[in-house]
């Protein structure tokens, strides 16, 4: 059996910023942005589930974040993941990619005997694409990034396509290996209704009262939650303390327009625009 861990992140939906999300001063109103499953992490999860459809495999999904990140773990269970775990601790807050990958690698080691780690290429809130490779380094796995297709998997090896800039590469690797997956790899499946019925009450242990917890455990609704101590991590390597990079300052981007010259949308305006383009950019013999 292959043990697969999928790394997932809950992110603000930065890709669908509409007019309402912009404040009058041109900055972003974070409060109105919904929190979503990072899109390429869904592609990573889908790849794990496709592998499970083909060979004997167990799919674990882990995320690091505040308790509300439980939403994406439930979503993963609805889609067909076998197990989910939340990594949460105030001491993990303000982590850069290095500290994040350290905490995640602790959780992967806690799961133990993992053959394959799958992650989205990058998260839409930071776009760094660094956490996947840094986890691979911490757990000592080989890695293949920018995976755009799962071609073949057997007990001994995996063959994938990697999307290079000038070439597509077909790469075979033995296990263990970590892959980062792009949105071209697949179309993530919908939630399964039976799984939704089964897991809609799922939550972390502390969300249940003592009476409820027994029922929750019997029904498999308890999503384990790990903190710094239970993962036996070094506090100096977590959160802000463990982050070599620090934010020096933040500036909201505001549009600095100015000399906008408008043309009317009738023939006269369009004609003038084309004449201006021709005059400035097209050489006339």
């Amino acid at each position: 059996m292959k043990k697969i861990v999928v790394l997932a992140k809950q992110v603000p939906d930065t890709a669908n910023i509409t007019g309402k999300a912009m404040k009058d001063d041109g900055t972003i109103n974070r409060a109105v942005l919904p929190a979503i499953f990072n899109p390429e992490d869904l592609n990573a999860l889908e790849m794990a589930l496709e592998i499970k459809d083909k060979i004997d495999a167990e799919v674990h999904v882990i995320t690091m974040g505040p308790p509300r990140a439980i939403d994406i773990l439930k979503h993963a269970l609805y889609m067909g993941a076998d197990k989910a775990a939340l990594i949460t601790d105030r001491k993990f807050a303000a982590a850069d990619t290095l500290a994040t990958s350290y905490s995640l690698s602790g959780a992967i080691e806690k799961i133990g005997d993992v053959d394959l780690v799958l992650a989205g290429r990058q998260a839409i809130d930071g776009d760094t694409a660094q956490v996947g490779p840094q986890v691979a380094d911490k757990i000592g796995f080989n890695q293949i990034t920018y995976v755009s297709k799962l071609q073949e998997i057997t007990d001994d090896y995996i063959i994938v396509q990697r999307d290079g800039e000038t070439q597509t590469e077909v790469i075979k690797s033995k296990f263990p290996v970590l892959l980062t997956v792009t949105d071209e790899a697949n179309n993530p499946r919908y939630s399964n209704c039976l799984n939704m019925l089964k897991f809609f009450k799922s939550n972390i242990p502390s969300a249940f009262s003592d009476d409820e917890r027994k029922i929750a455990e019997e029904n498999g609704w308890v999503i384990p939650s790990y903190d710094l101590e239970s993962l036996e991590l070094d506090a100096e390597k977590c959160g802000l303390n463990g982050s070599p990079t620090k934010v020096h300052k933040i500036k909201s981007i505001t549009l600095t327009g100015g000399n906008l010259e408008m043309y009317d949308n009738q023939h006269t305006g369009i004609h003038k625009l084309i004449d201006d383009i021709k005059k400035d950019y097209i050489e006339v013999d």
Binding site: T14, D137, T145, T168, I250, T256, N265, I274
Partner: protein
């Protein structure tokens, strides 16, 4: 001070990638005030054939390690070799192109060296850093868009060395006048173990690039507002009469109006043509990140409040289905 620049080769042209030349020059300008050294590091099967060009853009020295096993990206082997070079050179700064390969190995190296890496920087400068009231001396200030490009964050690495950053192709510029520096090549004195070769490349399919934004003075780009593939075809015709190239926003790709290779923006190409005509592009920050350095921007959109008008120099508010055919008509007139 010393800066190391990771040098990459374009496997199709066998020459240095543009981003490597751009970073060589950026490193040169960063090192100028302190008269610091700029060292290139190359790993692969053979050196790029235009190594002298790297020196004309700012390198003082190029350290290389070549082996037939290193023709294609071997993450673990590349990491181990580059890490050994960094450990022996002890640079203050290490710069990577934020290419698919650069973004593969830079994080491995930063993790292994336990230092900071800032991705996709759009500005880099050196200044004195005061962090928590302590003077950390001359440090690299790394400016990058974050939160989907809605904020610009300045990142510093106060206590760890080297300070590592990646930069996307097209963000930094080349020198106006080439530098006159001697070629100085140096074979890396490092251990190499075949056990580090973990990836078996079964086949390689070159991508044929139909789109060349680098050499286009004019780009005609369309977004979701174009509305249909048929209307998008008008953009191709307009671009053709102007001698330009066609680009698109991510939304236009998602709707199937345009191909992924034409995507401009944070997850596509970064362009800076003389003229950028944005049709039916609202101008979300992710798109602006890829084109706002264009010299002139013309926006055509039916939404007068679209953010694209905030950065445009000329604009028309109206329906593209009516405007584009008229544009084409006047463009073809007198041809």
């Amino acid at each position: 001070m010393q800066t190391i620049v990771y040098i990459e080769k374009n496997p199709i042209t066998n020459k240095s990638r543009f981003v490597s030349l751009e970073l060589a020059y950026k490193a040169y300008t960063l090192m100028q005030p302190s008269k610091g050294e700029v060292v290139g590091v190359f790993v692969g099967d053979s050196l790029p054939e235009d190594t002298d060009d790297l020196f004309k853009n700012g390198l003082d020295r190029l350290i290389y390690y070549t082996d037939d096993n290193l023709k294609n990206l071997q993450s673990i082997a590349y990491k181990n070799i580059i890490e050994q070079i960094i450990k022996s050179e002890e640079p203050d700064i290490v710069l990577f192109g934020a290419t698919h390969n650069g973004r593969d190995i830079a994080p491995l190296i930063a993790s292994s060296l336990r230092t900071g890496l800032t991705a996709d920087c759009t500005q880099l400068y050196i200044d004195d850093l005061i962090y928590r009231k302590e003077n950390k001396g001359q440090s690299l200030f790394q400016v990058r868009p974050a939160f989907g490009g809605n904020i610009l964050a300045t990142i510093v690495t106060p206590d760890n060395r080297p300070m590592m950053a990646s930069v996307r192709e097209g963000v930094m510029t080349l020198p106006e006048k080439k530098l006159n520096k001697p070629v100085k090549l140096e074979k890396a004195n490092v251990d190499f173990n075949k056990e580090w070769i973990k990836n078996d490349f079964l086949s390689i399919i070159p991508k044929i690039k139909h789109v060349n934004f680098d050499t286009s003075d004019i780009i005609v780009a369309g977004g979701a507002g174009v509305g249909s593939k048929e209307t998008f075809n008008l953009l191709h015709q307009i671009a053709k009469s102007l001698g330009g190239e066609v680009g698109s926003s991510r939304a236009a790709v998602d709707f199937g109006f345009s191909e992924k290779v034409r995507q401009i923006g944070q997850t596509g190409s970064i362009v800076r043509p003389k003229l950028y005509i944005a049709c039916g592009i609202s101008g979300q920050i992710q798109h602006r990140a890829g084109m706002e350095e264009s010299k002139k921007i013309i926006a055509i959109n039916n939404d007068k409040d679209a953010p694209i008008f905030g950065i445009a120099h000329k604009g028309i508010i109206g329906d593209l289905n009516e405007i584009l055919p008229v544009m084409l008509h006047y463009l073809r007139e007198e041809e």
